[in-house]
């Protein structure tokens, strides 16, 4: 039994939108990446976990409690960063954080101060006038200030600059070390690679892959960039029937899946001067599930 269970979750919005028979489970102390293109059903799934939507079929639980029936109870130890930061009108960041702290009935505010320092956030200005990045920081502080056991993070670093993204990744790793369970939807592949143990990929509301980050990367077709002596050779090389994605001057990019010997034998017949394997991001792995036309 995982700490967060999703079982046959279904919600049909028509026209193939929604989530369909989605099942997965997240273990205690795990950082779980939740990926998929826009409109794949990530936010719909998260809304079910938050108890905003009632499942049409199936159920989801957090800590053994039903996400719809026991939603207020679950929230005691849950932190949430919504995909869109919409606050109340005319509040400053300080007022908002103090409101949330009292609303949640949190005793100590030490954690809030620590988080504000960590993200170098001065929350004294009006929320309406804050930049996207500042609002995002306020949302992060609000999600972590009560030291929750389970965190649901919907694109938590959107709008943050690379330095702050890095600070956020550090925060997630610290929380993970403390045994917190985290579900994170993201488009920032670096943060998924660095933090997640396992990744689920959904497309059109259905689970298309669920595996370790390492396994997913290993299953990926490898990319090689072969440099030849001249452009003519590169053009010839590209006609050899290998899966070529790009020819730039004297460089040919080849995708290889289980046929490395074929590549080697072809290379033997050409004036190859260099071969490199660029570091492939999770994005490229991930894109294969959407038809591969962008790989």
């Amino acid at each position: 039994m995982g700490i967060c269970e999703i079982q046959s979750l279904t919600r049909d919005y028509g026209n193939g939108r929604g989530v369909f028979n989605l099942s997965f489970s997240i273990n205690q102390g795990e950082v779980f990446g939740f990926l998929g293109p826009n409109g794949a059903g990530k936010t719909t799934t998260i809304r079910h976990l938050m108890g905003f939507l009632k499942p049409e079929k199936g159920y989801c639980t957090i800590g053994g409690k039903d996400c719809w029936k026991d939603r207020a109870d679950i929230q005691k130890t849950l932190g949430y960063i919504p995909g869109e930061m919409v606050f109340f009108d005319d509040m400053t960041g300080t007022e908002f954080l103090s409101f949330m702290s009292k609303y949640r009935k949190i005793k100590s505010n030490g954690r809030t101060k620590e988080l504000l320092d960590r993200f170098e956030l001065d929350p004294r200005s009006k929320l309406k006038k804050m930049s996207k990045g500042m609002k995002q920081k306020v949302g992060i502080v609000a999600a972590f200030m009560h030291d929750p056991e389970v965190l649901i993070l919907d694109e938590p670093t959107s709008g943050l600059d690379p330095l702050m993204q890095n600070r956020f990744i550090e925060l997630v790793l610290e929380e993970k070390a403390k045994g917190k369970t985290i579900l994170m939807s993201s488009h920032m592949f670096e943060e998924v690679e660095r933090t997640c143990d396992r990744v689920a990929i959904i497309k059109n509301g259905m689970l298309v892959a669920l595996d370790n980050v390492q396994t997913l990367k290993a299953a990926q077709a490898k990319k090689y960039v072969v440099t030849l002596e001249n452009e003519d050779a590169a053009v010839e090389f590209a006609r050899e029937g290998l899966r070529v994605t790009d020819v730039t001057l004297n460089q040919v990019t080849v995708i290889v899946q289980n046929n490395i010997k074929e590549l080697i034998s072809v290379m033997n017949r050409y004036p190859v001067i260099n071969i490199i394997t660029p570091n492939q991001s999770l994005e490229e792995i991930f894109m294969q599930y959407y038809g591969g036309d962008r790989s």
Binding site: M50, L53, A72, D73, V86, F87, F99, Y103, R104
Partner: protein
């Protein structure tokens, strides 16, 4: 059942609107009470005689010449119906539907606070606002009358009249709040929530005009607020108040249940 942090926030957010309505009501009360003339009948009564139909449409046809009937006719037939109603429409939308529409409801529900508590607290914010508005009008009316015409006002009847208005406004507030809880879109919440009471009010104005349309009064809940009857001490008018209050309780109850059970796309 009530979250005091949210309540304080709601009252704080209502203050500006309450002050504006209080200012408007103060202006009307002061001007209209000053037009009362116990000996000769007021200038307004002259209007009523000159254009009885027009004045009747807006409920301005006093049953008798005493001060409480005068106020009932000129303040509680239109002013005290329309302005608190406007307050209901605006605050009901602001308290629930707008948070859902914009998405800020997310923060109210991503905390260990039940939806029932959120809706109940917001309802209490609205009821507090209405109560303060009517209480202020009552005190304002009494003070104004005692300064200008000491001893002329039947304070008991005037307070009862205000209790009646409060029951009516709670009922209207119940309709607006229910719509605010049903619709996820602010525009529908306001459209339907304001549309129903405004339409009912127009029907009442038509019924007031009399003649052929008099039977239209059976099609509007405003008939349940029988201000002449309340002052005359008719039991039917008191029952009307009770029915409006019971209706308000039912409407608010339904609103809380619906809000707690519905899907929120936030």
């Amino acid at each position: 059942m009530i979250n005091w942090t949210l309540y304080k926030r709601g009252i704080h957010g209502s203050l500006k609107m309450l002050l504006i309505f209080a200012a408007v009501i103060t202006m009307y009360f002061t001007v209209i009470i000053s037009m009362f003339d116990p000996a000769l009948g007021s200038a307004l009564n002259e209007f009523a005689k000159a254009m009885p139909e027009l004045m009747a449409i807006v409920g301005m046809n006093p049953a008798s010449a005493d001060l409480v009937s005068f106020m009932e006719a000129y303040l509680y037939g239109f002013i005290m119906l329309v302005f608190p109603m406007l307050f209901c429409i605006l605050s009901a939308n602001r308290l629930i539907a707008r948070h859902v529409d914009r998405g800020s409801m997310t923060y109210l529900l991503s905390a260990p606070v039940k939806r029932e508590t959120v809706a109940f607290t917001q309802m209490i914010v609205m009821v507090t606002g209405l109560f303060l508005l009517v209480l202020y009008s009552t005190i304002l009316g009494i003070v104004n009358c005692e300064i200008s015409f000491p001893g002329e006002l039947d304070i008991g009847k005037f307070i009862l009249l205000n209790v009646g208005v409060l029951c009516l406004q709670l009922f209207i507030g119940g309709i607006c709040f229910l719509c605010s809880c049903i619709f996820n879109d602010s525009k529908y919440a306001v459209g339907v929530g304001a549309g129903i009471p405004v339409l009912e009010f127009i029907i009442q104005m038509m019924a007031n005009a009399g003649e052929k349309l008099e039977n239209a009064k059976y099609a509007t809940f405003f008939t349940l607020f029988n201000s002449d009857g309340i002052i005359a001490g008719e039991p039917g008018a008191i029952w009307g108040m009770v029915i409006l209050f019971a209706g308000a309780v039912a409407l608010f109850g339904a609103a809380i249940v619906i809000f707690s059970k519905k899907d929120l796309h936030i």
